[in-house]
């Protein structure tokens, strides 16, 4: 029964931005999007730059709110949730991976992974420890290294490990290979695929590279804010 409820359901979601105070009409970047992400699924959202992929990803990940429409997470309407509830949702159920890795420069790999423990010291206690997660991404020997001492691919692996640390239901990856060469990019996508199969964590991959989307179980295309 639970499997029939999508992990994330995006229903008629639109997102507009007011460009300037004097602008007559706002810029709409998402037009009534409907999308479902199922538990354990590897979904790729493919589209050119400016298609609204990242905006959709942030809305799905409770980091941004839609201008209209509804977002359900595990069947719960998160569109009207308070900031505190959304924060808690992100902490425990969503993992983000960004194009720029976005590691904290003065923390080593292990500390970057476990940084969520500052928010909640019990985080990650029930699941994999930071070291184990680092092993999953193949960087066990680099645990003490600062981000500046790691290559781009390695930094992204640490970012993936950080996303995995709280054993989230879903990892939302925003152009995770955008700053990597082809080989390293493919390695990252393969890692996502491996983790998806091994751990059962749902993965939503946003990319403009259609070649990488082939690793996903399902692919949706976005153009001009529409699927």
């Amino acid at each position: 029964m639970a499997d029939k409820i999508p992990l994330i359901k995006v229903s008629n979601v639109s997102k507009s931005f007011a460009l300037a105070k004097r602008a007559r009409s706002p810029l709409t970047v998402l037009h009534e999007i409907n999308l479902e992400v199922r538990t354990g699924e590897f979904l790729a959202i493919v589209g050119p730059s400016g298609a609204g992929k990242s905006t959709l990803l942030y809305i799905m990940g409770a980091l941004d709110r839609p201008s209209s429409g509804t977002v359900y997470f595990n069947g719960e309407n998160i569109s009207k949730m308070k900031d505190r509830e959304l924060t808690n949702l992100r902490l425990r159920h969503v993992g983000f991976v960004f194009q720029n890795y976005n590691l904290i420069p003065n923390l080593n790999a292990l500390e970057n992974i476990a940084v969520g423990q500052i928010m909640d010291p019990s985080l990650g206690r029930n699941g994999k420890g930071a070291s184990e997660v680092l092993e999953h991404v193949g960087l066990a020997e680099r645990s003490d290294h600062l981000p500046a001492q790691l290559s781009g691919g390695e930094q992204q692996r640490v970012a993936i490990a950080r996303a995995l640390f709280a054993s989230p239901s879903v990892i939302l990856a925003d152009e995770p290979t955008g700053n990597l060469d082809t080989k390293a990019g493919e390695a990252i996508i393969k890692l996502f695929s491996k983790l998806n199969k091994k751990l059962g964590t749902a993965i939503v991959l946003v990319t403009h590279n259609t070649n990488l989307a082939k690793y996903a179980g399902r692919k949706v295309e976005m153009v001009d804010g529409r699927i």
């Binding site: 942030y58 992100r90 184990e132």
Partner: protein
């Protein structure tokens, strides 16, 4: 706030404290300069507070230990015996209802000077105190009170009789002219070509300060007087070799304090000794004297003057203390606030990441507050060492300068109490808290989506 420790895998856990300390160490120069500035400010606070405390404690101990009071009244025109009796009656009336023991006596203490140009002396100015008594006997009372005992105790070689006058012979004057003299010998107290001038007691301080804008009067040479007593090694008058005691009468004549035609003595001063002056209202007594005897000026209550000086100094220190506290508070708060604002501006992306990772606004605020407070606490630790060391140095220098009678910036004892340590700790925490208010507010307003997109 989690306590730093190790997780089961053996790696150090990341805690708020660890995260904050890493952030501070990330910008070493900026953090170092900020911490140094605040450390100096707090150290300044500690030193000033220590001086204020030391001064306060000193005043309290002065009040406790020096309960005895001495009041001197001098005026250029000597008091007549009738005036003295009037002052005695007023004093009796004032103390009638109290248990305080007191004694009022006429005092003869006249300063006269000479130029003494012998080579090798620090000063070519010599002055002498003529101390003595009226017809009732010796009234210097050097042996009667503890504090005077401390100041004036010396080796009494000998004394003859009660009617005598002391000549202070300092700057090796005794050694130069009288070292072979003993009690009973006849001496001249105007050696060779040296002339004496009278200096009224009330002008004495002005004379020492080099101000000669007052009338002096030549006194006739004093020759062939009998040395009736010698006081050696007086601690009260450091520069004094010996004090010679001479018969009174011709001295009094020389200073016009004895009218031999009417057989009347006059007194240049009155001394009132009080065994416990703690609760006395000196100003009231002064007012009564002035009402009773016209010209009873020259009020010279050294005990009260000293306390007044200390209290003035304490007030001055307190005023400076308040001004400096205000300035260092502003400087510290602005300094830390500026550092934190720069930190928040530079770390917009990082704050966005933390928000994306599930950090609440409250936790972000906590991080900024913790960082600001940590900066202030590190500064506090440094300032504590610095402040205690400077206070100790100040105190040591003060103790060394005691008794030298010289002006010094080390004018007071300095005592770092536990209250100061705790107060400076609270101030450091308060600085950090206030300084972080606005930066923390700014940090919570960082939109994670914008921060992640645009930095």
């Amino acid at each position: 706030m989690a306590v730093s420790g190790k997780n089961p895998s053996g790696a150090r856990e990341i805690t708020l404290v660890r995260y904050v300390l890493k952030n501070i160490s990330r910008r070493k120069l900026r953090s170092g300069l900020t911490i140094s500035g605040i450390a100096i400010c707090i150290a300044f606070f500690i030193v000033l507070a220590a001086i204020s405390t030391g001064l306060n404690n000193y005043i309290q101990s002065e009040l406790e230990e020096r309960k005895e009071g001495t009041i001197y009244i001098y005026r250029p025109v000597p008091f007549s015996p009738d005036e003295f009796e009037t002052l005695r009656a007023v004093t009796d009336e004032y103390f009638a209802d109290s248990d305080i023991d007191y004694a009022i006596t006429p005092t003869i203490e006249v300063t006269f000077i000479r130029k003494y140009g012998a080579a090798g002396f620090e000063s070519n100015v010599e002055y002498y105190n003529l101390m003595g008594c009226g017809p009732e006997g010796v009234h210097t009372h050097w042996e009667q009170y503890d504090f005077t005992e401390k100041l004036h105790s010396g080796e009494h070689l000998d004394t003859i009789g009660q009617t005598q006058a002391g000549i202070v012979m300092g700057y090796r004057l005794w050694n130069d002219y009288y070292s072979n003299k003993t009690v009973g010998d006849t001496i001249d107290i105007v050696p060779k070509n040296i002339s004496f001038k009278t200096v009224p007691w009330t002008m004495h301080d002005r004379y020492i300060a080099g101000d000669t804008n007052y009338t002096t009067e030549d006194i006739p040479p004093i020759r062939d007087v009998k040395l009736v007593g010698i006081l050696a090694q007086s601690k009260g008058y450091r520069w004094v070799d010996y004090i010679g005691f001479l018969p009174m009468e011709f001295m009094l004549k020389a200073f016009k304090l004895y009218d031999d035609k009417n057989d009347t003595y006059y007194y240049p001063g009155i001394t009132i000794l009080i065994d416990d002056a703690t609760d006395l209202d000196f100003s009231e007594l002064e007012f009564m004297y002035k009402e009773a005897v016209v010209g009873a000026e020259g009020w010279d209550n050294r005990f009260e003057m000293r306390l007044d000086w200390l209290e003035d100094m304490e007030n001055t220190v307190s005023s400076w203390f308040n001004i400096i506290i205000t300035i260092i508070s502003l400087v510290s708060i602005i300094g830390v606030s500026n550092t934190m604002l720069m930190s928040v501006s530079e770390r917009r992306t990082e704050l966005g990441i933390l928000r994306a990772l599930g950090f609440s606004r409250g936790k972000i605020k906590q991080l900024i507050f913790a960082e600001a407070i940590a900066i202030c606490l590190i500064a506090y630790c440094i300032s504590l060492v610095l402040g205690v060391w400077v206070s100790h140095y100040f105190n040591t220098q003060y103790e060394l300068s005691l008794g030298l009678g010289e002006s010094s910036i080390f004018f007071s004892p300095a005592q770092v109490s536990i209250e100061i340590v705790l107060a400076s700790f609270c101030i450091a925490v308060l600085f950090g808290t206030i300084a972080a208010l606005y930066p923390a507010h700014r940090a919570t307003k960082v939109d994670p989506v914008e921060a992640l997109r645009y930095g």
